[in-house]
Symmetry: C2
Subunit: 508 residues, 2 copies
């Protein structure tokens, strides 16, 4: 009956799990046990909902965000769960903590370490058997992806070759009973999230499902039922530092009024004690990402990264990070969303990058089973993942919050960067033979000065090389909107390759 | 002492002015007289604020929105203004009524007549002497513009060659006293608005001013003072059917927190009994146009109409009409916003059109006086106005709400229209020699069917001609995202011209 503290878990940002033995009665629409955790030195209090985990087992999970001594007490209407208490000592470990919004348009872990998402996708991964389940994680980790989108509920419809037997709820009178979660289902989900964390991958959890299409009926829950499930899910998963919440993929495939999503999103913001990132992903109609509960815009649009100068507009209107969680997929199926070649997809990622946004990958080669990687996972066969892993290394070398368009009013070269420090110009899928040194100047922003000195690296986005030009460039002509080194000879380039330039200030 | 009813003004949507004689005391921050107007047949009540107009004169203006008999009574803390009453009979006249949002992304008058804005701009026009004042109106009316942006407060800064002596308020202890409006100033404003209405031009009134730059100090009013002025302005102007409200041009040049604009915009929505269109125009930082008080997004961006596929993104995020009230100007000054050639500006208007948005014109040739047309007005000298008047006639021939992008997810041809009825494809600044009949298909939307028959007109956007192709096209291949007439020969085009195609269903 006494709560047990699993060891070793008392590291900063890492989940601590408290286990209780109760009566086994599952409260229908409230938290069976609540844990109040208090940080000794600061007096900060965190309130954590617990959850039923089968039989008479109840748990509460808490990820401490401060080092030092914490004490906790439990409260419940079930006397067996109430009035427990304990302490734990939190020390700094290797975890950087949950990812938060940083510098308005970017992301960083709670400890300040920047996080640059380069995401992967396999919606129905959770419901696959081995070896598919594990090979998926191996493949995306090895490719270098650091975020992964997957659904809690199983997918129905096309390309679905495997229907799970393990479902999230029991049925009462033939109808899903959200007051009776199936512990084995959610234990499997726990483990899936843990596995991603062990590989350094953020778990972008898709909470509701627009792809049920009546096959399972999990799309037919009422708003109240959705809320009960949401509270359960948050109680289970929120202590994992690497969880991101996405209410739904292609939310507008479900014919629900927007204000239902508004309320569900606001509820999520209210009940998550660990305040993870929150978004909702669209099909055709955009959600109002200006809603306060939305931390970043998660957007689908087939053409927003095919040309320069588009995705940046989403940043302007939302004033939040923009993650383009579907920009079509590398693959060979007839659907227009599923037959990009790798060169094109990599090209679009670089356009997203200099737009100051982030993108996610998906792969849609028809597999032996008749499914697609972006549905069920498995090994990756495309040529883009290695290049996207390379892009991630380039992004991680940025010394600063992230890349912002420098002159967002009208820069014909679409340069992003950090004013007067670092500039990245993507020259497109087929670079010219030479490049004349030129920087845009933002309004407002820190203006470069005559005499500022820069070095330039030529980044081959396809062949994955970074080649220093080996000369120093010095600004000798700074105008209102542009700055030049007129005296230097043009940079010779491998014409026709998909190149980016990284221009770093080294003095002046 | 008895209220006078100016005749003949009892036409639907036309302002009726009630004149009262009071004590001449101006209440500081409230309405000196309120008129309650009741429509006999429906019982509908409208509450209209009155205003002081100098000496002992007070007025209230009301534009009836229903035909038939109305009665009214007045209320005031000044006994001389209170308890008056009367009746008037409203008959249908020639006015279509105020412009409202229609079909989410477009505009129509209160009587349902579509309105397609093709706007002009001369910010400081109100403050010019004759003949400049009248020649401005003549020029924009003759060119065919139907909306005009101008500021109430005078402009300071560059290109200002004329400083008015007539100012909106008296000063008290050296500071503008918004409780003491200068009637002559606002009578001049009344007349300016009336003059535009007589020429069929919507008055897009810029209420506050980001271009004072301390020269007049009208940018230094407090939020409370701004509100007093706003109530006065609304009481004076709102009965004019053709008024649009714009809180500010380049609002973000004023260093004010966004929530001050939020409150001012919400106040405007609350106090305008005639519920005119409301917007706010940005410089670099976009306002949150998802705010409920905003009826349409009024946006500046230098690059959003230079290429296809951009301006439409603003529609998606706001779900409101988008009016691009600054896309750079036709002119010859060094500033990058002021030296487009006419071909480029017309090109950008057509890109805006097939993005399902509207744009506004401005002209920035340096004039003899050292000013610019977009500052002080006067005759137009550019080559774009005639082409924009032609664009307006094309827009006015649309039988429907307006043009919407058909496949907003990914249409490489950027076709806008009304599904299965009308399609407009702009082929860009330099058309190819031939065009193969092809229509995009929206998701969702009314799908064209095999056998649907269409006629095609070739619109020369520069030479201002509409030439029917003279053949009928019949869909013989309807796929998921595109529909074709494979059997017909390609349409021969005058290669290199700036052409649009208008594709109209005539049967099938």
């Amino acid at each position: 009956m006494s709560p047990a503290l699993r060891a070793p878990q008392s590291e900063l940002y890492r989940p601590i799990e408290l286990t209780f033995t109760g009566t086994g009665v599952i409260p229908a629409d409230r938290t069976p046990v609540t844990v109040y955790a208090r940080h000794g030195a600061s007096g900060a209090e965190r309130v954590v909902p617990g959850f039923w985990d089968g039989g008479t087992a109840y748990r509460a999970r808490f990820a401490p965000d401060l080092e030092g001594e914490w004490s906790w007490t439990s409260e419940s209407t079930d006397a067996a769960l109430s009035g427990r208490s304990g302490t734990f000592e939190v020390v700094r470990g290797g975890d950087h903590g949950p990812v938060r919004v940083a510098h308005r348009f970017h992301f960083a872990h709670a400890d300040g370490t920047p996080f640059r998402p380069v995401g992967a996708t396999a919606y129905n991964w959770l419901h696959q058997d081995e070896p598919l389940f594990s090979s998926t994680v191996d493949a995306i980790a090895e490719a270098g992806f650091n975020k992964f989108r997957f659904m809690v509920f199983p997918q129905g419809g096309g390309y679905i070759e495997h229907v799970p037997t393990l479902m999230p709820f029991e049925k009462t009178d033939g109808r899903w009973d959200v007051t009776k979660p199936v512990p084995e289902f959610f234990q499997r989900l726990d483990r899936a999230v843990e596995v991603l964390g062990e590989r350094g991958i953020q778990a972008d959890v898709l909470i509701y499902n627009a792809y049920d299409r009546g096959q399972f009926g999990l799309n037919e829950l009422t708003e109240q039922e959705d809320a009960i499930y949401l509270r359960y899910l948050v109680a289970r998963l929120a202590a994992h530092p690497h969880v991101w919440w996405s209410l739904c993929n292609e939310f507008d495939q479900l014919e629900r009024p927007d204000d239902r999503w508004d309320r569900t999103g606001a509820l999520l913001a209210e009940i998550d004690p660990h305040d993870h990132l929150r978004s909702i992903h669209n099909w055709i109609e955009l959600y109002d990402n200006n809603q306060p509960w939305v931390t970043h815009a998660s957007i689908q649009n087939g053409s927003v990264t095919t040309e320069f100068g588009r995705a940046n507009l989403y940043r302007d209107v939302y004033g939040k990070p923009v993650v383009l969680d579907e920009i079509k997929y590398e693959g060979d199926i007839p659907d227009r969303w599923g037959h990009l070649d790798a060169e094109q997809l990599v090209h679009q990622f670089w356009i997203a990058t200099v737009a100051g946004t982030y993108a996610s990958h998906g792969e849609s080669f028809a597999t032996e089973s008749g499914s697609l990687h972006m549905v069920e996972g498995g090994p990756l066969r495309g040529e883009s993942p290695a290049r996207l892993g390379f892009l991630r290394t380039v992004l991680e070398e940025i010394d600063g919050a992230g890349l912002d368009p420098i002159d967002k009013w009208d820069d014909p070269a679409y340069v992003a960067g950090i004013p007067r420090c670092l500039y990245v110009q993507y020259l497109g899928a087929s670079a010219p033979a030479t490049w004349d040194f030129r920087l845009p100047i933002g309004v407002p922003g820190e203006r470069p000065e005559p005499g500022d000195r820069f070095q330039v690296d030529v980044i081959d986005t396809w062949n994955m090389t970074v080649t220093p030009v080996g000369r120093t460039f010095t600004l000798d002509d700074v105008q209102r909107n542009d700055a030049y080194d007129r005296a230097s000879a043009p940079v010779e380039l491998p014409e026709g390759e998909a190149l980016a330039l990284r221009i770093t200030r080294i003095g002046g």
